[in-house]
């Protein structure tokens, strides 16, 4: 294993990236157990403090991990909350199939809120760029109102984005579902405060302190099942904005674009129209863990068109009630 023994001395004018081939984070298994037990503690606080919580579940790796940890937190008792998925209608079919099978294996109730229903009801309008990720917020908040959820558990991590790095583990949303970063509650020790007024709800992030590499190392250690598109596979893709987007009815070809077959895998999984694949030959957990450890870009920078919109894209969406 190579190490960071002698990093070059960077200067302000000429930043020096990590030398090629160095690993990002040597992590120990005791550390993974600490993260696991912290997440379980948070999930049990949700069960102890709320009347109507739900777990946001998309079939993506982070939500798969949260579900895995929730089953550990409450076993042998059943999962004390349902799963909720906000379906943009632009999801990968194999991920939806995985989602349904995973919910059934977990013995969990799966609720699906559809962006298409919000569009049909006139609650939101399709955007000219065709992206539906920004539209999810309305569908999500409507589902919160309809089911009177008082807590939504999500798989967001602080290492994903600078706005998320500022997030509490228990994060209050007002009656409009909005996040006000200037008015976040103090959160001391691990005394998570879930008290709120009627109509308000909390977002809870048990994976706050996990990094992308921690997630992969834990999933690998426990051999947790994931949708197959996280592993390297041949796929017909097209190049757009420096990303490999999949050939799909939801991704109409633009002038000059052409479809070709490549060996790729996904680092994040979301809406087909804005989630890019990365070229990779990592087909199993050990290879993926190594690839992530060697990676010199963040998963969002590499694969998410919607996060590239601006310096504060995530903050703006979080303020509106996005997860």
């Amino acid at each position: 294993m190579t190490t960071l023994a002698e990093p070059p001395r960077p200067t302000l004018a000429e930043p020096s990236p990590r030398p090629p081939g160095t690993l990002r984070a040597p992590v120990r298994d005791g550390h993974l157990n600490d993260l696991r037990d912290e997440a379980i503690h948070v999930l049990r606080e949700v069960a102890g403090q709320f009347d109507r919580p739900a777990l946001l579940f998309s079939g993506g790796k982070d939500s798969v991990l949260v579900l895995h940890l929730a089953l550990l937190a409450f076993r042998p008792a059943p999962l004390p909350f349902p799963l909720l998925h906000v379906d943009t209608g632009h999801n990968f079919p194999e991920v939806l199939a995985f989602r349904d099978a995973a919910a059934e294996r977990a013995g969990a109730r799966l609720l699906v809120a559809r962006v298409q229903d919000s569009i049909d009801a006139g609650r939101v309008r399709e955007r000219p760029d065709g992206l539906r990720n920004p539209l999810q917020t309305v569908t999500l908040l409507d589902a919160v109102a309809e089911h009177r959820f008082d807590a939504l558990i999500g798989g967001a991590r602080r290492d994903e984005d600078r706005a998320r790095a500022k997030e509490r583990i228990f994060s209050l949303r007002d009656e409009f579902g909005q996040w006000d970063p200037r008015r976040q509650r103090p959160e001391l020790w691990q005394l998570y405060n879930g008290r709120h007024l009627p109509g308000e709800h909390l977002r809870v992030f048990p994976l706050s302190n996990w990094t992308e590499l921690d997630v992969w190392r834990y999933l690998a250690r426990e051999d947790v099942a994931l949708p197959a598109l996280y592993r390297a596979h041949r796929r017909r893709v097209l190049r757009r904005d420096g990303m490999w987007l999949p050939e799909s009815p939801h991704v109409p070809l633009r002038a000059g674009e052409r479809v070709e077959e490549r060996l790729v895998r996904y680092r994040t999984v979301g809406d087909v129209t804005c989630t890019g694949a990365v070229e990779s030959s990592a087909a199993d957990y050990p290879a993926i863990v190594t690839e992530v450890a060697l990676s010199r870009t963040t998963e969002r920078g590499a694969t998410r068109a919607d996060d590239r919109v601006g310096q504060a894209a995530m903050e703006d969406r979080k303020r509106e009630g996005y997860f």
Binding site: P7, R9, A13, I40, R44, R158, R168, P181, P186, L188
Partner: protein, 430 residues
């Protein structure tokens, strides 16, 4: 560096081996360079991903400011606009020797609640001082909070040495001033490190500009911070939820201190029921013993009526439940706390009502001394407060048991977190 191999699946370790995670909070007055220092630690450790670095360079280019490392953590729109930190940011990185969580906090007095949020979970605190200005009221306030919170390692970081011509006398003056403050606050011999976060001198790499400084660079000092000593305290487990499935009935919670083993006699507080541990389960299966930090389920031989809010502790060494709670309180609300006020107290997993009986001497950030008691406690003030609670609480001294000595003060109406307290503890004679 022990206990790393045997806990792969079962999680039976009770210790946190040296070299594991260190949570480091940066505190100190506004503009003393906390965000820049954290950015510098990340950058010079090569822990900034390429896309974030590229975005940072582009932003610097757009503004004509060059590379501004503080923007690595000052991610909110308002923070970038004002050039200050408003809320806590958490960044994760590792060196070959150790993993770190770097916690950046705001220096402004109006955001003290966010600084306390960051410091409450830290193992080490970097207290930054601008060598040109020396200690300020806010430095003294943060030092007092770090001392009250019991952060184990405190390092004074004398920053902006480049703007003081790397001069030793200026550094020594700050060191002396801080030495007196540390003694007043009861901080044990803190390390002092001169740096320039802007140039990177003595942060990750040693500095050639300060040959008079014998100690190593800041990162090396952090890598050397000793892990928590072995936990020989009596066990404490606040019950979060009761799990039932058929014949199975277990009390789920996290062991906050000490070690529990099957066969141990425990008492549930405040109800007082006693029982013997039949088994301890965690995510990996049944355990022979479980220590602090482990999330477990405890099964008892006896069928006790225990619910969320109870504390499990060894029958022979349990805190005495009391309705009189005295501790150092940091107040976060713009509405002052007054004697006679009613609020909620959160302790462990229990919430009960309380009334304020007395407000004692306040910490004075101008002198680091004490101001005589007032009838009310203002925003960001730190003082000893005595409460009378409706339900009995099994309170420990915060100094010995952080989790069972800590409490929150909540608004009765909207549940907002108004203050945080660290219990003085009780005399154990009774």
């Amino acid at each position: 560096m022990t206990g790393e191999t045997n806990d792969l699946m079962t999680g039976t370790t009770t210790d946190r081996p040296a070299g594991t995670l260190l949570r480091v909070v940066a505190a100190g007055s506004v503009d003393d360079g906390k965000s820049t220092l954290i950015g510098r630690l990340l950058h010079d450790s090569c822990a900034v991903p390429d896309d974030q670095l590229a975005a940072l360079l582009a932003a610097g280019h757009e503004r004509g400011t060059g590379l501004d490392l503080s923007l690595l953590t000052d991610g909110l729109r308002a923070e970038r606009e004002q050039g200050i930190t408003i809320d806590v940011a958490y960044r994760y990185f590792a060196t070959p020797r150790r993993s770190f969580v770097l916690i950046d906090t705001p220096g402004h007095v109006q955001y003290t609640r966010n600084m306390v949020t960051g410091a409450s979970t830290a193992d080490a605190a970097l207290l930054l001082v601008d060598v040109r200005t020396g200690l300020t009221d806010q430095t003294r306030r943060h030092a007092a909070l770090v001392a009250a919170l019991g952060v184990r390692h405190v390092l004074l970081v004398v920053n902006k040495m480049d703007l003081a011509d790397w001069a030793e006398p200026a550094y020594r003056a700050v060191e002396r001033e801080f030495g007196a403050l540390a003694e007043r606050l009861g901080l044990a011999a803190p390390a002092v490190v001169p740096v320039s976060a802007a140039t990177g001198d003595n942060v990750v790499e040693p500095s050639t500009a300060m040959p008079w400084y014998p100690g190593g660079p800041l990162l090396a000092r952090l890598e050397e911070c000793a892990a928590a000593p072995a936990d020989d305290r009596p066990a404490r487990l606040p019950v979060q939820v009761v799990l039932r499935a058929g014949e199975y009935r277990g009390y789920a919670g996290r062991i906050e201190s000490g070690v529990l083993r099957p066969g141990d006699e425990v008492v549930a507080l405040p109800s007082g029921g006693r029982g013997r541990i039949a088994a301890i389960d965690d995510a990996g299966g049944e355990l022979a013993e479980a220590g602090a930090g482990r999330s477990v389920v405890v099964r008892l031989h006896e069928d006790l009526d225990i619910s969320r809010g109870e504390l499990l502790a060894p029958a022979a060494d349990a805190p005495r439940p009391t309705r009189d709670l005295t501790g150092t309180v940091c107040w976060f609300s713009p509405r002052p706390l007054r004697v006679g006020d009613r609020l909620l107290v959160r302790h462990g997993t229990q919430v009960t009502r309380a009334v304020v009986r007395a407000i004692g001497d306040r910490f004075d950030p101008a002198t680091a001394g004490r101001l005589p008691g007032a009838a009310e406690l203002e925003l960001n003030a730190l003082a000893e407060v005595t409460l009378r609670t409706m339900a009995e609480l099994p309170v420990d001294a915060y100094r010995q048991h952080r989790a069972t000595g800590a409490f929150l003060l909540l608004d009765e109406h909207d549940g907002d977190t108004l203050g945080a307290g660290m219990a003085r503890g009780q005399d154990r004679a009774a």
